[in-house]
Symmetry: C2
Subunit: 514 residues, 2 copies
């Protein structure tokens, strides 16, 4: 069973903090999922060995490109790879050997220690949507995202019981200069949430800013000794590592901060149209990327990533919640476990333009797959719409509610004497009913997962209340959550230092929008 405790600011002190605590809305949160059910292993030993051997062939004979990154080429040459221009060919076994220094699991600390997450093992940490330039809500429709939207999504994340992580670019705040928005984004995560968060990766200097701000929040010594950010480093599939992303990886690995090293694959475009072919390329790319992180700093925490979707071969559009993507997600989980690395994949993916039935079918398919694939870190677990172009307010709370389903399913089956319920079966007997029996009375409060969005009312009541669909019900919940949100306590000195840092950095350079 998930551990649910109520929110307590841990670092706040003094009268203001005590007053805040007395008046706070009770916000429950659940600990990350510790699975008590098996993973689904769809590849047999023979298939796994074929894919692993093929990935070594790809690295040894085809190789990968490290673009505009002479220092990386030097590191690879020293490690024993064959470097030809920007092409790096990695002898069989070398990448896997280098990966061995990466930790099997690591703790990402939050400023509220109760929100720390352990990424790896049988755990599943859930984080929200990342990256969309647009937002949508029921009243406002689809529009460019702003920093106000960004802050709203961070608030919704903080309020979401089943969400363990505040995420990163919950939407792109397009009203803030490109070269400054990372400062506002980090400031929002650090002050409006007390859950763990992600750093910037769009420039190495922005990764450095992220580390600096984390040091203000956690203290220099703490950041030197602990992982406080997990950031998203995409591989430019097929088989290409660009300088920007590698620059961010280098900053984070040197600071012992975690990165997800993630092939970004639309099957049929960035990888072969076949599942086994895609898995081969994914594994080759992750081996090279993780090995590189360990060349930068042995022991740096990294995650085996796989962002995978298929393609509609008629229109070229990426498609989500498809069976081929599910097979790749499941297979890549097996490959990650054999490598001994934490695994990132899946999410609440959909290509739909609206939070309608299509969105929910596709999202449930991917959420269920992610749980059974042994995913350890699930980005985009809630709020993703329209192929990642849109962060949806309503879908954020709809999906976040479904994450409770994953928690409960993963908890496994209680076969204690109470779980066996033999006394209840005896008490009720043939033809009776269980509503009033002792066992039901003793257990009903926690017996079943409870939704906070979906409708179970009688038809007539539902009709009288306006015959609302899930979109409308979720809209009401979004409004209620934003109205009742209260910021977690933060040390005023830290808050001031963070605000100063952001102001100073923003004033130092002119705005850039490219």
């Amino acid at each position: 069973m998930e551990e649910v405790v109520d929110r307590r600011g841990r670092r706040g002190g003094g009268g203001a903090a005590r007053r805040a605590e007395r008046t706070a809305v009770r916000v429950e949160f659940a600990r990350y999922i510790e699975r008590n059910i098996p993973n689904l292993e769809i590849l047999n030993e023979e298939a796994l060995e074929i894919i692993e051997a093929n990935a070594e062939t790809v690295l040894a004979e085809i190789g990968v490109n490290f673009v505009e990154n002479p220092a990386a080429l030097d590191l690879w040459r020293e490690a024993g790879a064959e470097v030809d221009g920007e092409r790096v060919r990695i002898p069989r076994g070398l990448a896997r050997k280098l990966c061995a220094t990466a930790p099997h699991e690591f703790t990402q600390h939050a400023r509220n220690p109760a929100r720390n997450v352990v990424i790896g093992g049988r755990n599943l940490v859930l984080a929200p949507v990342y990256g969309p330039p647009f937002v949508r809500d029921l009243n406002g429709g689809r529009r460019y995202a702003t920093i106000e939207d960004f802050r709203n999504f961070v608030k919704l994340g903080q309020m979401s019981k089943w969400l363990h992580h505040s995420g990163g670019t919950v939407c792109e705040p397009t009203d803030v200069a490109v070269n400054k928005r990372h400062l506002d984004m980090l400031h929002a995560h650090m002050t409006l949430s007390d859950k763990p968060f992600m750093g910037s990766v769009t420039e190495p200097s922005r990764a450095a800013d992220s580390v600096e701000m984390a040091k203000i929040l956690f203290g220099d010594a703490f950041v030197d000794q602990n992982t406080v950010m997990t950031s998203l480093v995409n591989i430019n599939s097929p088989l290409t590592f660009d300088a920007t992303m590698m620059g961010a990886l280098e900053v984070y690995a040197r600071a012992n901060q975690a990165c997800i090293i993630s092939p970004f694959i639309v099957g049929g475009a960035m990888a072969p149209v076949s599942v086994a072919g895609t898995l081969t390329q994914v594994l080759a790319e992750v081996l090279a990327g993780v090995a590189y992180s360990q060349l930068i700093r042995p022991g740096a925490p990294v995650i085996f990533g796989a962002f995978v979707t298929s393609i509609d071969m008629n229109s070229g559009a990426p498609t989500f919640g498809t069976p081929e993507a599910a097979q790749i997600t499941l297979g890549a989980g097996q490959l990650a476990r054999r490598l001994g690395l934490p695994y990132r994949s899946a999410g609440g993916f959909t290509g739909s333009k609206l939070p309608d039935a299509q969105a929910a079918y596709e999202t449930s398919n991917t959420l269920n797959t992610g749980l059974l694939a042994g995913v350890n870190f699930m980005l985009h677990a809630c709020g993703w719409l329209e192929g990642g172009l849109v962060s949806s307010y309503e879908k954020f709370v709809m999906d976040a509610d479904q994450l409770g389903y994953l928690h409960r399913l993963a908890a496994g089956v209680d076969v204690s004497a109470n779980g066996q319920a033999m006394e209840a079966i005896r008490e009720v007997g043939p033809g009776g009913h269980y509503l009033g029996c002792d066992h039901t009375q003793a257990n009903f409060k926690d017996a079943f997962w409870k939704t906070e969005v979906l409708d179970y009312k009688p038809f007539e009541t539902w009709e009288e209340e306006g015959a609302r669909d899930t979109y409308a019900l979720a809209h009401a919940r979004v409004r209620k959550m934003l109205e009742t949100y209260q910021a977690p306590d933060i040390d005023p000195g830290i808050a001031e230092a963070l605000a100063d840092y952001v102001a100073r950095k923003k004033a130092a350079v002119p705005d850039a929008f490219l």
Copy 2:
């Protein structure tokens, strides 16, 4: 990979049949699913043994009631059970021993032999919604179902590529007398579809009519020697077997026709609020029911059923797509396999009033669970809405489309040389793209599952076309399917004999509406 072939009437002959074939709309259909991926086993050996031992205790110490059925009590007494009034206590091991004569799998024949299904083993046969008194569509709203609706749903089922079975009461034709509607329903399945179907269970005499009509359709000798119907026999949980349902079971078992023997459980009302307790009761009930079928006729084909939902303890409403129901569905599959019986559970369940996001989340959760639970026969796989009160036209085609996802996921991963795609990875290399490469050209047509309902269009196109949600897109598909439907060929002599039988039986007694 699923085998997809185009529709051919097999029994039709003569000029009319040939003309019909020439002008027929091409309707594809898929063979039943033969799984090539593992099941998800959430209970360990210890848990399974506890539940199995407890189920034997329930049968031996608490027992089950066979209500108003002295002949059944006699059979039980002769078999060695202790009979006390209507209570039957079954010594440990006896029920399991009696179950051993039931077949592990059986073929249900369709009038088109290409549509025969093998129920059991690693197969999954998909059948539509069963039982709702209401229908809903986008234009007409929610209303009582009629025989015209019934026929429309049979037509949609016949046209649905991923649906293997025509089902039974796809909706209740409330405009036909209760004592006659089974005749019209069977007539619709037999003439408007050439897929396998279910018989009537609401009275033993109606089960007998079902067998008689099947003999007209298939021939007397064929029905004597083969299973041509699979019918739904619900157990009145907890632990009660009523005379009506048992009467239907007796008719079908004697005729060697298949029955699903299915506890009907809203957890917390008809079973304990705990998963292990519910599984114990489900197993005890199925053991008693299947054993009884084998007392009627050893070797009669039966299915281990489990219709399971949880309850909203605030309102008492049944809830669907919940994690507790998923755990029970998965665990019951393990119990069925250990008994060596085909397994029926899951479906496209939802409590939602509309085919909205809630409907799709809940439906996907249950469809995914059913696939991984090793379900062999899935009733309600498409069209179920509002807790089974409503058959939804649009949700029928939305769900039926998602069934393609199950087919493809279950097919497993191709690791042939073509599946490995090493030549493609070599050809494209770092930084290239796969859209034009030889492997993609050779494989793209069958590489990815294709939806026929969901929207993948660019945002602008979608908006210009009316910004339709899934409900509206599905509505358009329903209309198109019903407009292009063509009845499968049938021997005119058989058609006439069926119509005569129905007319004669209807004329023989006055209408009854209770």
